[in-house]
């Protein structure tokens, strides 16, 4: 009679033993990327599999999830689910998601395939391959969920094309390009750990709760369905860091440096989430500040306490971020309000009620620094002088966000930093970005900065309007500009039967 195998032994026998020591070729040539980052792995067999999902179980559970998910997508489009959202302004949040975030899922799919090929330990490899497959699932389910919105709203129609070109989309794109162009271990710390484990809740939970609070059933459904994979990914991210730190003490300073870098890099990308939460949701879930407190300060606090036994300390700049949480979303939304003519989504001035909400959520900063500015802009708009910034903004060489963030001890003063490298001067929005540049200038001098590229004539036109229309493929007057009076706004009113 056969003995019953427990899940750990079964997984080991079915999976871990598939690989072998080479006799005919140099194994290093088959897995050539493991050494160049300075990480020392002495024994891959010490890898603890985070979840022991065999492939047949994977197919079974994932197929079940997909069946449920697509049934809801079908119902959503058959019933014109888009008319049930709170307000068409809300849809701009998911335009930002499809153009800015979904292509990152695709890059995650590619990046995890690469590490899933490169790691010479079979346990780690397989976990990464499954994540690669999951990430492909995420981008495809997102495209399929948004497909219906694309039929009724502007701004979705050229999402991959725009992601490769449009100025604010280079913020998320460069983030992932950065991770994928790094070595396999840095990729895992960047994406598997810093992004998936530490920051993903700040991306997904606000977007999905925002969708739930605003009647967007399609997004809630793919969000929750995707999150069920995310728990596996988070566990992988944590396993990687523990594994590296347990393998060799020399790995500690390298890993710590990467955590510092990637926390800051990821946080800068989340500026887009911050403004989405505070400004783009008609029904608010919680403020960015509250989200940062719950999902970073509380949750990551426990995590870093746990990692302290390896000598890992809380990343640099967490204190700066804590100060910025009072300002970040307001400054980001102001940048976009200024440059809405060059964006594939709409902006607007918050209503009086929304301004009051912001005052309540940000008592120490909003009334003092931001409310007067928005009230003035609202008056100008009322007088028919809706304000757009005609110039092109200077971008940070690292995070690529326009220089609009301020010093924290003086929120009226824009923060500028710079470094000189090989006789050229490079500009940064913050100490965080400057430090990242100074550590690897050779990498960041290559940044494809959208504004510089326009000035250099690489975006197919001398004037901004031609760039927007032909190079970005923005439908002028439909995808861009103020929300009020936009085709989205007019259609929405027609569907709802309001003037």
């Amino acid at each position: 009679m056969a003995t019953k195998l427990n899940i750990k032994d079964k997984y080991r026998l079915l999976t871990r033993d598939l690989d072998w020591d080479f006799d005919y070729q140099d194994r290093k040539e088959a897995f050539p990327q493991e050494d160049f980052e300075g990480i020392k792995i002495t024994d891959w067999s010490k890898w603890e599999d985070p979840f022991r999902l065999t492939m047949d179980a994977y197919w079974k559970y994932q197929a079940e999830k997909e069946k449920k998910l697509y049934a809801i997508f079908d119902a959503f489009s058959q019933n014109n689910g888009h008319v049930n959202v709170t307000d068409a302004r809300y849809v701009n949040a998911i335009k930002l998601f499809l153009t800015g975030v979904s292509p990152l899922e695709y890059q995650a799919h590619q990046g995890f395939a690469a590490v899933g090929r490169q790691f010479s330990g079979v346990g780690a490899r397989v976990a990464c391959q499954m994540q690669s497959l999951d990430e492909l699932r995420h981008v495809q389910t997102q495209v399929h969920a948004m497909s219906h919105y694309n039929k009724f709203f502007d701004g979705f129609h050229e999402f991959p094309h725009m992601h490769d070109r449009v100025w604010y989309l280079s913020v998320p794109k460069s983030f992932f390009d950065d991770a994928r162009s790094a070595g396999p271990f840095e990729f895992m710390i960047a994406i598997g750990f810093s992004f998936e484990y530490v920051l993903t809740n700040l991306l997904f939970v606000p977007f999905m709760s925002g969708a739930a609070y605003n009647g967007d059933m399609a997004t809630v459904t793919f969000g929750f369905s995707a999150q069920s994979d995310e728990a596996r990914h988070m566990t992988l991210g944590l396993e990687v860091i523990k594994f590296l730190l347990e393998q060799h003490e020399d790995n500690l300073p390298i890993v710590q440096k990467w955590i510092n870098k990637w926390l800051w890099r990821g946080y800068r990308v989340l500026a887009l989430v911050a403004m989405m939460m505070d400004y783009m949701l008609p029904n608010k879930v919680m403020s960015w500040k509250e989200a940062w407190e719950v999902y970073f300060e509380d949750a990551a606090g426990s995590l870093f306490k746990d990692l302290a036994r390896y000598g890992i300390v809380m990343p640099d700049y967490v204190e700066t971020i804590a100060k910025e949480k009072e300002h970040l979303s307001h400054q980001a939304w102001w940048i976009f309000y200024n440059f809405t003519h060059a964006s594939a989504f709409h902006t607007w001035i918050p209503s009086a009620k929304e301004l009051d909400w912001l005052s309540e959520k940000y008592p120490s900063t909003f009334d003092q620094y931001y409310r007067p500015r928005f009230e003035l802009a609202a008056e100008m708009e009322k007088a028919g002088e809706r304000f757009y910034c005609s110039g092109l903004p200077q971008l940070c060489q690292v995070c690529q966000i326009p220089m609009g963030f301020t010093e924290m001890d003086n929120p009226t003063l824009i923060s500028y930093r710079d470094s000189v490298y090989k006789d050229d001067r490079y500009h940064f929005c913050s100490d965080g970005c400057k430090t990242i540049f100074d550590d690897e200038p050779e990498k960041y001098v290559h940044s494809w900065l959208p504004v510089q590229q326009i000035f250099q004539g690489n975006c197919g036109g001398a004037d901004v309007e031609t760039v927007l229309k032909d190079y970005y493929r923005i439908n002028m007057g439909a995808d861009n500009m103020e929300y009020a009076g936009s085709p989205d706004d007019l259609r929405w009113k027609a569907w709802k039967g309001v003037a």
Binding site: A2, T3, L5, L14, D17, L18, D19, W20, Y24, Q25, E29, A30, P32, Q33, F36, M55, D56, Y58, W59, A63, E66, L69, N80, V83, P103, Y106, Q110, A113, A114, G116, R117, Q118, V126, Q129, M130, S132, L133, L136, R137, Q140, T141, V143, S147, K151, F152, D154, H157, E158, P160, H161, D164, R165, K173, D177, S181, G183, P184, W448, Q453, W495
Partner: protein, 328 residues
Amino acid sequence: MTIEIKTATLEPVRNTFAHIERRFGDKPATRYQEGTYDLQAVANFHYKPMWQPEYELNDTRRTAIQMEDWYAFRDPRQFYYGTYVQQRAKMQEVAESNYSFFEKRNLADLLSDEVKAKLIRFLVPLRHVEHTANLNNVYGTAYGYGTAITQALLYDGMDRFGIAQYLSRIGLIFDGNTGDKLAEAKTYWLQEEVWQGMRALCEETLITKDWFELFVVQDLLMDTLNYDIFFNQFEQWLRDNGAQDVAMLMEFMQNWHKDTSRWVDAVMKTAVAESEANKATLETWISAWRPKVEAALAPLAEEMLGAQALPLAQAELDKRLNKAGLFK
């Protein structure tokens, strides 16, 4: 309650995304189309990969094959993630019931010692070959170009991981879940003369750099020959030798190969039809690799099935090469 929506005002403003419309016209698109075409980034990469600074992150130059449009590699199965996992879930449900049936009724006990020894010696070590196929296909996903082919390569890669696990389970069935037979099979893989050509071939594929070349070697040459020997001819041998029950454990692999060949053939045909240069490249690769693959398989085929086995498999391969428009 009726919903007070005038249908006229709910006419969509567009049928699909602009890049899908440019390819397929202004009409509603399929989920395969929207979930596949033009998803991968093509321009304005920010940094040079530290692991390969001579190329961009996504770069067509990682293979000698060149395509005007990389999305010409349409998957005839039209697999996107959702259809892929649902299709495989159906197959695994059948496989699961086959494996349970086999185990519960102790069908292994009905087999002769000769058959059992043959399964451990020839079928179970194949899990290491499948594991190689996993890596070779995932390699194409990581370094290939265009979602149409790279997603299908990942599906193939994960399938091979699943097949390696099914083959491992066959070992466990015969050792009462102790892992002894898996260890024995691995010893054959590592030490026995008859397997060394195959192992050397697997190791060589794992250091091969051109991802399309690797696709041809693994998914066309090796798979056509291996699957014919192991899952077609050897299955027939099992039937002829009173071991037809084992066929139940091989049904997944047979169905999988049939399904996947449809995709591999379509990719080959498209690559050949694209240009004379592609055709020449493919023929050069095949001429160089085919003898190696056959030499690796020859001793196995002969010991398992006799001298007539390899020529039969070769005829299968000839058919597929012909179908792709090669060597004519």
